[in-house]
Symmetry: C2
């Protein structure tokens, strides 16, 4: 474990937590999982050129490297607690580290997440974060519990992040209104807000849950496969931001909503008798939510257009090494 | 979390553990820390060109990526349980993944360590592993407890890994005896055997402990700094392998033993009244150990040559971004 870079991050992300018996600075951290809680752990990596464009602001990277991991905890219904950071940098770069730490801390603080360990190395820019959270025994939300007849719901709006990536690649926009719309989409890409409160609110209510990292079709497909069911979605119901609709129109915004990854909303299933409770719990958590379809027999995800015909999906969800 | 590569690794590293409530294949793993145990976590990264030479055998990388992390657990006196793997590869490369998984599994199995999550991404070759282990509350070995008068000890032999790196860079050796000596040193570099049994045996006996990743002087320096003490070593006592002595001679082998990193032996301190118990515990664990000096007042590490004069250290321990 190296000290200079990690110390800088520690200064900005210090979170006093009683359950951290020994934090950064030894060969490993010593932690106490609260009695009667299970531990939920995930790891995610971001690589320059694969997950973000060269020149991305370090603060955005710090935020997002943590956000994509908190989103995994959210999808399990877990409460975040601790993180480990492995940061590989081409050279010791104090402004980069300061910016990265600032973005990481901005997201860590509201979640009371403590950075408890790290490793900084020299090499091509690559960021791995491992996160740890808690869930009451047996209450983790998995992909495997969806039942035929369950409602399918999503939080927030879909497709914004992919549209934000398109916007980043386009030349600057002279029109002020268009520029604002694009900026909204770009921020959905660079500063995703993981649905942690929604995830914990859904404990005991959702039968299955995923976060949308690969795209709605791909990730709902994971629920269908793990639960041995199918799903049918109503294209017109897919929640889309005003910016996405205005810049991309009805048909294209539906395709983006179905296939756009890097989105970090939750997609989950709820049996009809629990629907009212789930909607109330999410309202309490301050999280917008939309019913988009139903779990069916069979397998795979089908999408109905407004006229009742089956919609053809023209984009594919993004997969590594696909 | 992507499936194809991680699944392959899972097949080869399957470890049935009751405490894994939900393993690879969902957004996160769900784990149960045994009642009355603290959790010990560490993360370490290996980058091509920084930590290993291009062309290193994938099986050696799989072994070592886990070994350097298990060594961190060993230094804390923790018993290994679970790992997360973040693997970034230039391209989907089945032979690489098979070899990597094989090496990882070879080391995971005797330690009953389960791979519980992972992420595979495209990009320059980079491997981060996070490990989790258990320790009884308050019994973790840290860097901070060394007391003036404590004995300083190390497991195994020192300096072999750096000499192995030198050997790798030299042209092939015609002399069969020399080639065998070099091969021994190279295997100490590529297949370090983390001192897990020694670490747990030292609980309640050692006052401070580190693993030697940066070199003896640097890592014992960490103990001295964290414990606000100094240390004095006897150069002649430094344990060195026959291969190191024969290939590098007395003086150079001492320098290699003092400064060579990537070594993954443990350096620890024991109060004289507990020395016999510590030696017995390590003998029981099957771990060779050598007394090399004492903790003193002051700060920093001094080394005495055989004639009693202070030894000048000519090599520096390796540090990232140094």
């Amino acid at each position: 474990m190296e000290f200079r870079l990690i110390d800088r991050i520690r200064e900005l992300t210090a979170q006093p937590r009683d359950d951290v018996r020994l934090g950064i600075g030894d060969d490993a951290a010593v932690l106490a999982v609260p009695a009667g809680q299970e531990l939920v752990v995930a790891i995610d990596t971001m690589v320059e050129g694969t997950h973000f464009l060269p020149g991305t602001a370090p603060a955005d990277l710090g935020w997002k490297a943590l956000a994509v991991n908190l989103s995994d905890l959210a999808a399990m219904g877990a409460t975040p607690a601790w993180a480990l950071l492995a940061l590989t940098l081409p050279r010791a770069d104090a402004p980069f580290v300061d910016g990265f730490a600032e973005g990481f801390a901005q997201l860590a603080q509201p979640h009371r997440l403590a950075l408890v360990g790290g490793d900084t190395t020299g090499g091509p820019l690559c960021i791995s974060v491992a996160v740890h959270g808690f869930v009451p025994p047996g209450q983790a939300l998995t992909r495997a519990g969806a039942q035929v007849g369950d409602e399918v719901l999503v939080t927030g709006t879909l497709g914004d992040a992919l549209a934000g990536l398109y916007a980043l690649r386009e030349p600057p926009q002279d029109d002020a209104h268009q520029a604002i719309l694009r900026q909204f989409l770009i921020e959905r890409l660079t500063r995703p807000d993981p649905r942690v409160a929604a995830g914990t609110a859904l404990r005991g209510l959702a039968t299955a849950c995923v976060d949308i990292s690969d795209g709605l079709l791909a990730d709902l497909g994971h629920i269908c496969e793990a639960s041995s069911v199918g799903a049918e979605l109503e294209a017109a119901q897919l929640p889309r931001s005003p910016a996405l609709r205005e810049l991309h129109g009805e048909d294209e915004s539906i395709q983006l909503a179905l296939s756009g990854g890097d989105n970090y909303e939750l997609c989950f299933t709820v049996p009809p008798p629990r629907l009212a409770d789930a909607l109330a719990a999410l309202a309490e958590a301050g999280c917008p939510v939309t019913r988009i379809g139903r779990i069916t027999e069979g397998h795979g995800v089908r999408v109905r257009a407004a006229d009742g015909s089956e919609l053809t999906v023209t984009m594919k969800g993004w997969e590594h090494f696909a």
